[in-house]
Amino acid sequence: MNKNLMMSVLLVSVLAACSSKPVKEEPAAPVVDKSSSSQAAAPAAAPKEAAPTAAPTTTSTVAVNPLTDPNNILSKRNVFFDFDKDEVKAEYRPLVEAHAKYLVANPNAKLAVQGNADDRGSREYNLALGQRRAAAVKKVMNVYGASDKQIETVSYGEEKPRCTEQAESCWSQNRRADIVYAGE
């Protein structure tokens, strides 16, 4: 008997056996991946109330969403880190502080801090490093009064790179924590 045919028959029968008990996946997706487009996101479930203090005043009656208004610091969502480091550098403090203040002003708002690492070295170590970066951002938010209940941390390690070239200009973009609000 032809071997390829034999293999095909075997394969079909194995697949048929598998298809009778498909793996049921929970639709759990608490955090939407925004690694490639966090700035451009349009939050459908954005708060309707007036923008908090950080938002620019407007005379228009149309509510501007402070989280997506490019003139508002709250539209900035990325904190970048040095190699193998998890310190939130001084230049990112105002950004993190603004998000913390937003959480204080909007007790129902929730966000996720997603930690990332560049792709050099161990994937598991980078997963742990991404977690520590996310936790570092959360800690700063806590300092400015944000509640633990409003902040979830998650790590993608080196698995969700924004940039894939092998150069520091690219690696530095991947050593990052992203702030993503629930519903975005």
Partner: protein
Amino acid sequence: MLKKALYCSLIFLTVVFGKAEAALDIEIVGGAAQQIPIAVVPFAQTVSQNDSLAAIISADLRRSGLFRALETRGVVNQPHELAEVKFSDWAALQAQALVIGKVEQQVNNRLKVSFRLLDVLKQSPLAGLEYDIAPSQLRMTAHKIADVIYEKMTGEKGVFATRITYIVKQGNRFQLQVADADGGNGQTVLSSTEPIISPSWSPDGTKLAYVSFEKKKPVVYVQSLVTGQRQVLANFKGNNSAPCWSPDGSRLAIVLTYAANSQIYLINADGTGLHQLSHSSAIDTEPEWSPDGKWVYFTSDRGGSPQIYRMSTLGGDAQRVTFEGSYNVSPHLSPDGKLLTFIRREAGRFRVAQQELSTGQVQLLSDSAQDESPSFAPNGRMILYATNINGRGVLSIVSADGRTRQRLSEAGGDVREPAWGPWMN
């Protein structure tokens, strides 16, 4: 909301046992000084086969770095039976050993494969076996024959009939695959649009534990390679990652960020009995059980930079194992527990290193710059690892003495996270 719904619908996840499209190729980039010259004559075949047994056997032996497979094409007398062997032909070609054999069709659609290993100088048989197999077992039978030859000629057990696992990234798809140790016959075990990392073999080779991001966060699963069924082993708050089986298969070491930072926990293979093993304010990850079951080796940055430590599986203080360098990660032990392989960063390059545990002596084994995930073959003679060539992930194997390196590369995919499986009964 629409965006979220759309994203969720894009997640497509399947558990399959499909035949992978491309085989991994072999490329040898070095060689040992002393190699045994061996001639493997193409087997007589009464049925047409895609796979040439002689070619698979020759490639296996060549990859070990200990054999030189001689060209047999053009030799007028091609023997398949002992009576047909003209030893003077093979002595003239300076073969030390000769392999002959045949594949015969049986009445019940099975095949009979038989071979003989002959000593050319002494003109005497060294080994000979017969296998009654299904046609789908032909490749694995070639590997088993190579194992018999390897053991007869070197005195050491071969690993050609073992399997490896790895992840292939192709476009936006991640596939967990299992293949023969030569990279051939790849089968997809799990396919997902979200990353899969850290596959770990159960000691009996029937299950894989791995980390999947399909729930938008790292969760540890255990999947049977026999039935394809899988279950969540650890899905606690925070990250769940880095599974490693205990040598008796009853427990796994995993890493959770349940309390805060990444710490090592032990959990029974059925998901019960979770308890925290490491207690530090640093990153503790990549647990690796010692073969005697007494220690867990792991990566920690408790001293300021990532280094390898070990602690008793009963708990207590950690002992530092690596001292040189500012970045030593991904510990894996040899089956006899005497050697540690890991990744060291030196002058910006990440390379495979090996440390003799009794002396602390370290040797760098690879010559590349982005190496990851080293693991020993079950006989401890070779180390499988991932590296990066021209921006693409490929698998490489280096002999534990550092003399032979070879590359297993799959066309069109980005291959990473390899782990060498155990001997199967």
